[in-house]
Symmetry: C2
Subunit: 886 residues, 2 copies
Amino acid sequence: MTKNVYSFGGGKAEGSVELKNLLGGKGANLAEMSSLGIDVPPGFTITTEICNHYTSHDSAYPDDLAAEVDVAMAQMEEIMGQPFGSGDNPMLVSVRSGARASMPGMMDTVLNLGLNDETVVALAKASGDERFAYDSYRRFIQMYSDVVLGVDHAYFEDILDDTKLRLGVSMDTALSADDWKDIIAQYKREVEKETGKPFPQHPREQLWGSISSVFESWMNNRAIVYRKLHNIPQSWGTAVNVQAMVFGNMGEDCATGVCFTRNPATGENLFYGEFLVNAQGEDVVAGIRTPQPLTKEDKIAQNSRMLSFEEAMPDVYVELCKVREVLESHYKDMQDMEFTVQKGRLWMLQTRAGKRTAKASLGIALDMQKEGLLNKQEAIMQINPHQLDQLLHPMLDPDAEREILATGLPASPGAAVGRIVFSSKDAELWVANKEKVILVRTETSPEDISGMYVAEGVLTSRGGMTSHAAVVARGMGKPCVSGAGDIHVDYNNKTMKVLGSVYNEGDTITLDGTSGEIISGSVPMVQPELTGAFAELMEWVDEIRTMGVRANAETPLDAKTARKFGAEGIGLSRTEHMFFDPERIVHMREMILAKDLEARKVALDKLLPYQRKDFTELFEIMEGLPVTIRLLDPPLHEFIPHGESEVTAVAEAAGIKVADVKARAEELHEVNPMLGHRGSRLGLTYPEIYEMQARAIFEAASDITIKGGTVEPEVMIPLVVNLREFEFFKVLVDKIADQVKAETGASFKYLVGTMIELPRACLRAGEIAKSAEFFSFGTNDLTQTTFGYSRDDAGSFLDDYYANGILTNDPFVTIDQDGVGELVILAKQRGDETRPGMKMGICGEHGGDPDSVEFCHRIGLTYVSCSPYRVPIARLSAAQAVLKQG
Amino acid sequence: MTKNVYSFGGGKAEGSVELKNLLGGKGANLAEMSSLGIDVPPGFTITTEICNHYTSHDSAYPDDLAAEVDVAMAQMEEIMGQPFGSGDNPMLVSVRSGARASMPGMMDTVLNLGLNDETVVALAKASGDERFAYDSYRRFIQMYSDVVLGVDHAYFEDILDDTKLRLGVSMDTALSADDWKDIIAQYKREVEKETGKPFPQHPREQLWGSISSVFESWMNNRAIVYRKLHNIPQSWGTAVNVQAMVFGNMGEDCATGVCFTRNPATGENLFYGEFLVNAQGEDVVAGIRTPQPLTKEDKIAQNSRMLSFEEAMPDVYVELCKVREVLESHYKDMQDMEFTVQKGRLWMLQTRAGKRTAKASLGIALDMQKEGLLNKQEAIMQINPHQLDQLLHPMLDPDAEREILATGLPASPGAAVGRIVFSSKDAELWVANKEKVILVRTETSPEDISGMYVAEGVLTSRGGMTSHAAVVARGMGKPCVSGAGDIHVDYNNKTMKVLGSVYNEGDTITLDGTSGEIISGSVPMVQPELTGAFAELMEWVDEIRTMGVRANAETPLDAKTARKFGAEGIGLSRTEHMFFDPERIVHMREMILAKDLEARKVALDKLLPYQRKDFTELFEIMEGLPVTIRLLDPPLHEFIPHGESEVTAVAEAAGIKVADVKARAEELHEVNPMLGHRGSRLGLTYPEIYEMQARAIFEAASDITIKGGTVEPEVMIPLVVNLREFEFFKVLVDKIADQVKAETGASFKYLVGTMIELPRACLRAGEIAKSAEFFSFGTNDLTQTTFGYSRDDAGSFLDDYYANGILTNDPFVTIDQDGVGELVILAKQRGDETRPGMKMGICGEHGGDPDSVEFCHRIGLTYVSCSPYRVPIARLSAAQAVLKQG
């Protein structure tokens, strides 16, 4: 016989945290606490499997369930010494849901169950508080009728309001026991009117009605939507917890409270919490009464005049401190607990890992290691790498006021304050005048890069987490809020409309890229701290991790940031970003508009010194660490402007006709630029571009070498599909290297390798590795082509994919292991076979995503490369990956 | 020791056709003929491996080569009874290239080699024709100096012209032996002046100079370009053939000619050819003299007054007839031969498979089978499936005059005559007035489909063989010339400019989609014959092939054509093409512009009857054969016009604001529509569209069933990436089927399957097959995503890929077996594992390409589906695939 009901209480339990999937989080922790000898009100958990049975068997239960519940109820009665539904001191119970993952407020709860016209009288006597008893009864009727019988709670509120009006009182507390009796009578009439049946008096009927309602609520709309949003499978089901009621509102020797074993905001090892005397749990949360501090120390810190729990109930406080110790050393994690004191006796109602800020998370893990509670490995595993992000960007002062205008997607973390501008050109103008700006666009394109570069932050009204704006901003470590649909940009008038209000160019706003909030005016900021606990943790993770971590960086600022965050090299330097500087874009356009090879070479010769300087700077900053440089990748039309006035300006600057510029732009236009004339395809048509870039790289390498430095550039060819294509470029790059070596007399090493970013490149990796000296998986493009999803356009349909459970993650954020991952593994195997021990990394956005980093470690990549600000996250994730693998 | 030189002549040979790769085509066939006892002038072949050695060793030869050549030369001298370079009757030789693949005119040739101041005197005596001897000598000097010494032939032409001017004659034939002697003296002075050395008198020096020049010419620019264009690898190299000279110009008992064993135009089993008395081979080709017919029969047929070869040299004719018989029965193929008669003796100079028209190809293969020369299998193998295409489309009368305006790409075969129009709308207007039109566009988009549909043919000035215009036209079986860069379309003035001339709307042109020619005016046409030899061949191939052949078709006309050509079902019916009819597009747009689900459903309800009628017609025409219907695939913006006036028209028709239409179009705009909101992604966002289509399919199936017909629709979901996505639609389609069955009481079977057209779908095919009942490989999209090539944009760079040998085929024409093919194989294996014997087909453009069809057969697909006009090609290719597999 399958066991469907697990009892707990009285210092023992049938379940444990090991059975979390079967008992849900709440039930498993109640069982665990009970086993630890902590007083929890006795009860039992009906398993999540019964939930699945219930939903798949037309709301029916297995035959033996009722008998199991009876046994468990009898056990509760014995422990409490109170019979359920009868006697002088009747036991009341609560019925609550408890799923594997926390789903706060999504499902139903029934309290005070077991009350009826008889037991309420006994409760009144036993508690010595008639008012309390009838108030509890009316609350039960109201809750049960709403949850189980489907009677709208508005009816009951009307009755209550009418009665108070009639009696001329405004507060519930002013109502006497007799008033409640009168109200109860009205409630019961209303229930009979609505349901055609009297309110159920039989406690067993009440119990089963409530259990079924909780199981039903697993399939209510609210819960379904929540599950979709949080990727919780329906098949997990919920458990049901039936537990004896204890009351914190039975008098002045009663209390209820919540506490954390350590401070969840700062991480300090101080007991932290609040409580209320003579109150129910919900009163603490509801905020009607101001809760009192837990400890004397806190009382002083808060400058509070209220009694602390330590003072008010010193004996119980000592007990609670013991519970704190037991639970923390048992769970080896900071706990969030709920307790009730009923007539001087402490009952623990819940414990779970406490939510905490990133700062607290770091502090707690390190402290626990020092206290001997955790070893280094355990401490490292306790930190959520996603959360680490918060620590690495300037943050808005959490205590400051925020007037939130609208909310978009938290596309690139950090905060930015600035005056709004609506074009790249304006951004540059304002910045030239020493103003800080926020660039606001409907969406961004590569033309906007110069503006993004000078702006403090970027705001777009369209585009997802992986839109151009989001990706580029993350790459720049610049805060970005994307896809803020409530913002309407009017380029002509240089204004944006937000829910009726108009903001003009020059108005100041604040962006919170971590929350997605757009805030009016300037909010004060807090700078990140990279020393202390953070530095210590990073030392630990570096001892453990085996995979390298590099950064994607092209500007000196990026490269410096990358080193500051511990990058061990540059895994992707996107040379195209170097061409958007106003001085250079002129020559770039001259090159694109050139009529022939001769003219193109003239323009390229002008770009050469800039590129050489770029690389020299990068090499100097990276001081001998590897630097991977990708040759020009985007289609040329990204460098040609489209607006009428800009076209005219370009034509004038280039000394050619406007019509010719337009004709060239038209010629370069593509239906699907992502699949168009870019990457190696450009290099094949215009080898002179790649020659210029290779020359700039090697001349820079020569300079460094001659000055006594070391450098080992890794020249990377994007977008190849087979060996012959790669070899075309290998020959070209080697030729230039030989030329430069001959010219300068310098001697330096270099590698020539390729991005593996197309399915065909993965399939042909074995042959490509014959010539390619390293691989870098470009998982952004590989995801686009493997799924057939345009990163720029997928926003319009991916939500439907999550909502329908077809995809559980954004494949542009976390690598799709089943599809893209299989191709990466295959390419790695084939590459390794040809060139054992080949250097292979990943340089897509996935390089900074913890789950993806774990995948990269598991399949044996040499390194991951991510945006500078994500380097610490990748380092931590890489260490956790080692520990997970065991 | 490697053998580098292969002798032939005197009824034997060291080589054979088996060694074609080593000896080149010419050398191998000379050896073969010699072994067959046919008189060929003796000679030898230096292998292609020496060519590679020569190019890779700085123009040096292996040490032992000279000795081998000496042995071979001695053998020639013995057979001819003439010493090389001395004696009374000196042997002269020719030095010619001969690569594995024919490269006509690309490389160098030297004739009459061995002549010098001494041997010319002997030749004069031996031939009894002094003029002939000195003419030969001066020709040799001219050719050798040009080819070997690099002296521009213009110098020699000047000398000849000056001499004729001085002598007052205009024809070479008027020059005497003495005149030639004088010219020779001048030639030699010129050579010495240009090269600083006298013209080489030593025959061995002449021989090696010529051999080296031929090897050199393998790397000349002309040859390199030719190889690139014809995908001939450089590594193949060329062989060099040195052969004793025979002369057809030594008198009236000499002649030279070319002949075919059968008529290459009609295929009739009649000896066919032409010849000239007292002439050299080049004279026949040069067209200075009119050649005489070979046979008496031909003479009569041509109404010629000239003597036939049969009459002029009856004995030699009999010999030639014997050669004809020997060669044809030996090669089992129609041969193209060259011969020379020197003083009454027949020498064969060359034989090779003769080029022939499609009609001849078919006729010859069938005749040869009847004659017992070939069995059915061999006859089938002899027909080039590519060529079959010519037979299936109306053709321009090959005898008619053509005034060719310009040439584009032969994008869709067949010929069309019509008046030019420049928009879909105008096409419809003119056609409504009973005019035949040719739609001329810069490039086409889905908006042009209605115009393409009514036009006779389509002409675009941009786009490749796989551009929208090309693909859609081939699908429609409509002639199309694409990418005609000399055509400049002016939409505003409704004109096109072609190399300076202007053509107005309404002017008549003719398109030859088979050659890519654009011809002024109306060229008469010839209709295809599908009976006789064609029908017989098709019977044979159907007996042999094991793989099914279906057609891609959506209109009744397409479906009828498909059946006429032997399609065994429809493998792809693209429902979107059904929405472009003017009556329907209105409702389609209404649907797209609808503000909510309700309004969308109203519009869809209007489309339902049209779709139902479409499917009913298709099912009726296909009479129980399987019909695969793909639910809506393209992004919605393809249905929304972009021009100002069209937008206004749509807004008026839909009763909404112009601004709203524009806003919706803007909303639907995508950066990369190929990777955007289309296919299943549309179906997920707007399930009501797929519901309407499923309903139309099943209502049509009910109608047919109730009338006593049979039908088994195969409903196909495009673009899925995993099982859950497919299941969403499986549930939807099944639900509608159940509803329709319940409503109509009809009972019918159907399948629900999916396109496998994305790399991820291939990888996940195993799980998708759990629910999908069939797969259809959409290799167009799969090629786009596997390579990361946009079909619409790749034209701008693919030529560079061919030119550099990175790709050898257009992957959109012939399936890329190494990349896309591996994914298809993998998907098939995974699908088979889950659902053994699963029905799997291919419905991309590749379904009509012979190499791709062979691939599909080899990997075990159930069927290929191609455009109706390619069905016979696919049937033949499928049979050939069986035979090739053995």
